[in-house]
Subunit: 433 residues, 2 copies
């Protein structure tokens, strides 16, 4: 019987894994350059952690199960609840600010269909314990630095930013009071995905045509994408909100990332827990999903039973960012990388070849050899096929003069090297060739 | 409401994660130095993948669930079935040998109790497509190289090795024919865990006292730990088996790892799919679980619907190896590592300080600063608390002479550095201080 791979889940063969590791390594390096520290949590949590935050409606979107003790768990669909739980558990002892990142794998019980993944990875970066919008600017700066290192420029991608306070003011002005806005945020967030017709239907159903969906859509499409709206609406929110947003803009400029950023009133984020600045990263000229979404969520730890801890952060999925790089033709390419392939010139030298392999590996080089005894020219072919930079031949020269033949496979240059010299400082000897 | 962390699952706060990352990085580095390539699979598989290999009895040990399409899945309890499925799916196109490693997270539905984890990581290293016991020797050599790099020596740990063919010969000699040996392997594997009394009870129940459990235990405890048994039994197995095992020993010596290895007839491994050489790594003087277990499994891909692919490999759990290092007092310790902490000498310099932060991060340094404007001496304390190697003060010197004050926090040495010099080659400037 042949067992298939589960639908919507990915197998990473070595060539896929090299790309995945490049992405993870870059995420890690950029996070650390900003002083973020890595954390992790369990692959599943108590189901309560998600229903508490998102309501019972979320259960059908989760892979959930009970253990023999009837405890009800769900595979994590996002990392923020875990982060909030971990911070709440040590809220009194963790030094502030808390600058953490993680690269969790997570699952959502999507209906299996083309292009929809049930399992994915996400780069999560968060700052907790800081009210200052400087933290929001740092969060955006770390995202932008990754985009830069991935070869993306302001012509390719844009960070679209808004503040829930502004969005709330807009809705209030349109006749939807703050207490009824949660569903409106969700609908506006999904507007493009739904399309005009379905959006209008759902909007009018929820708000009885007050205001009419058409008016809102027109507003969102035309006036709101320009920063003139920011001028307009910022005059109507409390001074503190406006000043905070302006300070945030100044910090983005000082950190050198403002060229990637734009105000966009259409960005509101769907999740209920956002409380302030929100943002998304989109491709400028391609109709792709958002690469990243995030914002400020100051009440989540409190909702999960801890004290209030101000927080801001984002999640960037692995699939959307690789999809964007692929669409732009900017995916990096990697072959297998081996430092040395050791070749025995005949079976009588194989013991000595294995010896050398062991020595070079202990010196930290990546080294391989053939498990089959075969001719030297075939072994040179294997060395090239494996992407080795050097081939070292163990043969008669070793027996006669205690030397190896070392060949640089990139330049073709070949030299006899004293065995002792190679053993003492292999890296130096090879680099000189 | 306060949501707890699920029982038996671990939260990795940054200090835990640093240790975990050291372990993962070392696993990766050692794997690559042996020419292994990384792969990954999905966190859950079709339940069939496990029942096919281990029978229906395994279901209660797995976290399993159905999706809305009534597909039955289980979170992976081990990686080998996934590996075998992936290799079987591309058996005709993957270049041989297949030298792969992975660091999967996996779950088992253990009863929650102290010291028993429901979620853990495992370093899996496998060679597929090679019959030659040279592959088994390579697999052991990569494990030993990790042990060495973790600071373990032959006095601390031992690789205990056996061959299922020898174990089978022993059982045959004791009156248990090959067709009835599977359960015997499982019992012998669990002998120490069960204790003499329970082992005897189960043994006598299964085999009706033929041979009596006492005889077997005595045999295992006394004669079988010495390599004299190897001499004894190797005379009774086919020449090919004996020659293979001797060749395996020679390869271990050539690769320079034989000082870690011993023959031990008690090691048989419990899983049904092992077909040849088997091995475990144990602490020499501490009563701990095995750190690693593995062996040859030549029939697994066939069982999963693919062609027969000879294979050998091992899995090393993260918890047992960290437990061993902890017990020996050899756990490495890591603090937070920051290259530079930038200090503004007053709020009027904060914009310039942020600018410098952005420049240094883009140059690849890990850099942080305080989100709160406060006094310089407090900021120096924060710099030290964060483990920064250098502090750079942005103050009057910048305005007056375009210079920063750079202080090496390890040596206390302090210098004025031209702003342009620092921006052009920050790493070089800092290293000279």
């Amino acid at each position: 019987m042949k067992v298939q791979s589960p639908p919507g889940m990915r197998d990473f063969y070595p060539e896929d894994m090299r790309l995945q590791n490049w992405l993870f390594d870059t995420w890690r390096r950029v996070s650390r350059s900003f002083g973020f520290e890595e954390y992790e949590g369990p692959i599943f949590e108590y189901l309560d952690l998600y229903t508490l935050k998102s309501g019972e409606g979320i259960v059908s979107e989760l892979f959930n199960f009970k253990d023999r003790g009837q405890r009800h768990f769900a595979i994590r669909p996002e990392m923020t609840p875990t982060l909030a739980r971990m911070v709440a558990a040590r809220a009194n002892t963790l030094p502030r600010p808390i600058k953490w990142f993680s690269i969790p794998r997570m699952c959502r019980a999507e209906k299996p269909q083309r292009g929809r993944l049930r399992e994915f990875y996400q780069w999560n970066v968060d700052i907790l314990g800081v009210e200052d919008p400087l933290a929001d600017a740092e969060i955006i700066a770390v995202a932008v630095e990754f985009l830069r290192q991935a070869g993306l420029r302001p012509e390719d991608v844009v960070v679209k930013m808004n503040d829930r306070h502004f969005a709330s003011e807009l809705l209030t002005r349109l006749g939807i009071p703050p207490g009824s806005q949660e569903h409106a945020f969700d609908l506006i967030d999904r507007q493009e995905k739904l399309g005009v017709e379905e959006f209008s239907r759902q909007w009018n159903e929820a708000y009885g045509g007050q205001p009419p969906a058409e008016e809102l859509v027109e507003f969102l499409e035309k006036e709101l994408t320009s920063s003139t709206f920011y001028e307009l609406v910022s005059g109507r929110v409390p001074d503190a909100v406006r000043d905070q947003f302006n300070g945030f803009w100044d910090s983005l400029k000082a950190l050198g990332v403002a060229d990637f950023c734009e105000f966009d009133a259409k960005v509101v984020r769907g999740l209920a827990y956002y409380t302030g600045i929100v943002f998304e990263v989109h491709a400028r000229h391609l109709p792709l999903r958002a690469v990243l979404g995030g914002g400020r969520y100051d009440s989540l730890t409190k909702l999960l039973g801890g004290p209030r801890v101000p927080a801001t952060g984002f999640g960037m999925g692995d699939a959307p960012v690789l999809e964007l790089l692929r669409a732009l033709g900017r995916l990096p390419e990697f072959g297998e990388a081996l430092d040395v392939f050791v070749i025995d010139a005949g079976p009588e030298y194989f013991g000595a070849a294995l010896n050398l392999v062991g020595d070079l590996r202990r010196a930290g080089l990546s080294v391989d050899f053939s498990y089959k005894r075969t001719g030297v020219s075939k072994l040179f072919k294997q060395a090239s096929a494996r992407g080795a930079r050097y081939a070292i031949v163990v043969g008669a020269e070793l027996a006669q003069r205690n030397e190896f033949t070392v060949k640089n496979l990139l330049t073709g240059r070949q030299e006899l090297v004293a065995a002792d010299r190679l053993r003492v400082g292999p890296r130096m000897v090879l680099e000189m060739l």
